[in-house]
């Protein structure tokens, strides 16, 4: 007969999405409690929750050596489903409920300008860092620049122009660093950059671009801003994948040969 612990494990693995709901609910509860008691609400509960999530991801990575953070532990695999693209997109689209379409239209042009600026800026800064570390070929410089855009633009661009797997891995890491920093820093920097209205959130989404970073960063700052930032950020990765291996690569190649 299996022990009580084994029985529990079987139940947890078979019902992994429910495990995720239970754990995430508890995490949010603890975070709001800490926010209230330790910081008197100055640090938003969701910012603490997202930070705890990142710590969990780190622990999961150390234990399993996998790529999906805490979700690589079998009994916790439901967290991967809950935080995966399907439910995340469903929730993010639902946040647009009640928003007026004109709100997006008013800052539409600014959103487009922000997107192009954000993508160019990422390639510029990432590419400069690559150059400073001794990469002199256009392929590696472009790929690391692409990773600085998002961790999806990096590998897509890298494979399209034939980068080595080592450089592609670096580009993914650069994109992950960006996503995580945006999640953590946004609530602290929001007031200094005027991030407190829909228009600013659209600019923020367009320039940062990293979906996960923007969505979590805004949630931790002011959940009302989420749909606006998400609206522009959702175009960033696609545009980056479009411009990276084409216009931007050709431009960088004419400089570095």
């Amino acid at each position: 007969m299996p022990s009580a612990l084994q029985s529990l494990e079987i139940v947890l693995i078979k019902n992994s999405l429910l495990v995720a709901f239970a754990i995430m609910g508890s995490t949010v509860w603890i975070s709001y409690f800490l926010s209230d008691r330790l910081t008197r609400g100055r640090l938003h509960g969701s910012a603490i929750a997202i930070f705890i999530g990142l710590v969990m991801a780190c622990i999961g990575g150390i234990i399993t050596n996998g790529k999906q953070g805490i979700a690589d532990i079998a009994a916790l695999s439901g967290i991967g489903l809950m935080g995966g693209a399907m439910l995340r997109d469903l929730a993010i689209v639902a946040t647009a409920f009640g928003v007026k379409a004109e709100e997006f239209g008013k800052s539409g042009l600014m959103g487009v300008i922000s997107l192009l600026t954000g993508i160019t800026l990422s390639f510029l800064v990432g590419g400069t860092v690559a150059y400073a570390f001794g990469y002199r070929d256009a392929i590696s410089i472009t790929t690391i620049g692409a990773g600085s855009a998002t961790y999806i633009v990096g590998p897509v661009t890298g494979s399209a122009i034939g980068a080595t797997s080592e450089v592609i891995a670096l580009s993914v890491a650069a994109g992950l660093v960006k996503a995580i920093l945006v999640m953590i820093l946004t609530p602290f920097l929001a007031k200094y950059i005027g991030l407190d209205n829909p228009r600013a959130a659209m600019i923020f989404g367009g320039i940062m671009g990293t979906n996960s970073g923007v969505m979590a960063g805004l949630a931790a700052t002011d959940p009302k801003l989420v749909p606006y930032g998400a609206m522009t950020a959702t175009f960033y990765t696609g545009l980056g994948c479009l411009l990276g291996p084409s216009v931007i690569f050709i431009f960088i190649r004419t400089i570095f040969g």
């Binding site: 609910g25 800064v125 620049g145």
Partner: protein, 124 residues
């Protein structure tokens, strides 16, 4: 019925993601361009239409609002399933490329936000 709202939300997302992929294919890349954004617009337009014609019932709204309101725990789950270890082990190039990009981006966001609001006197 609550399910009507959730069904409407799902249909908007499925249509939006498909349109995003079609846009990507037209541009010659195997990725989606703006799928979530298009879905949001579809949801806004269809809800507006239903509200105007008086067919949007409170339970239908609840079927949409529920998903928007559990957005934060979903984002926490997303954070918990990121490859954080790879980011930390990426070495100096990755750390510096990511960090400097974020720093420069925050500065540019601040500049854009301020530049825009001083140009529009209506905002005062």
């Amino acid at each position: 019925m609550i399910i009507y709202g959730t069904a409407l939300l799902s249909i908007c997302l499925l249509l939006g993601l498909t349109m995003g992929r079609i846009l990507g294919n037209l541009a010659g890349i195997d990725a989606d361009i703006g799928g979530v954004g298009i879905s949001m617009l579809l949801l806004i337009i269809s809800c507006d239409y239903l509200q105007r014609s008086g067919r949007m019932k409170p339970p239908t709204e609840a079927g949409i609002a529920f998903w928007g309101s559990i957005y934060i725990p979903i984002v926490v789950a997303m954070a918990a399933s990121q490859n954080v270890l790879a980011a930390l082990q990426g070495g100096a190039v990755a750390l510096l490329a990511g960090t400097l990009t974020v720093g420069a981006s925050f500065a540019v966001v601040g500049f854009f936000v301020k530049a825009g609001s001083s140009n529009s006197p209506a905002k005062g």
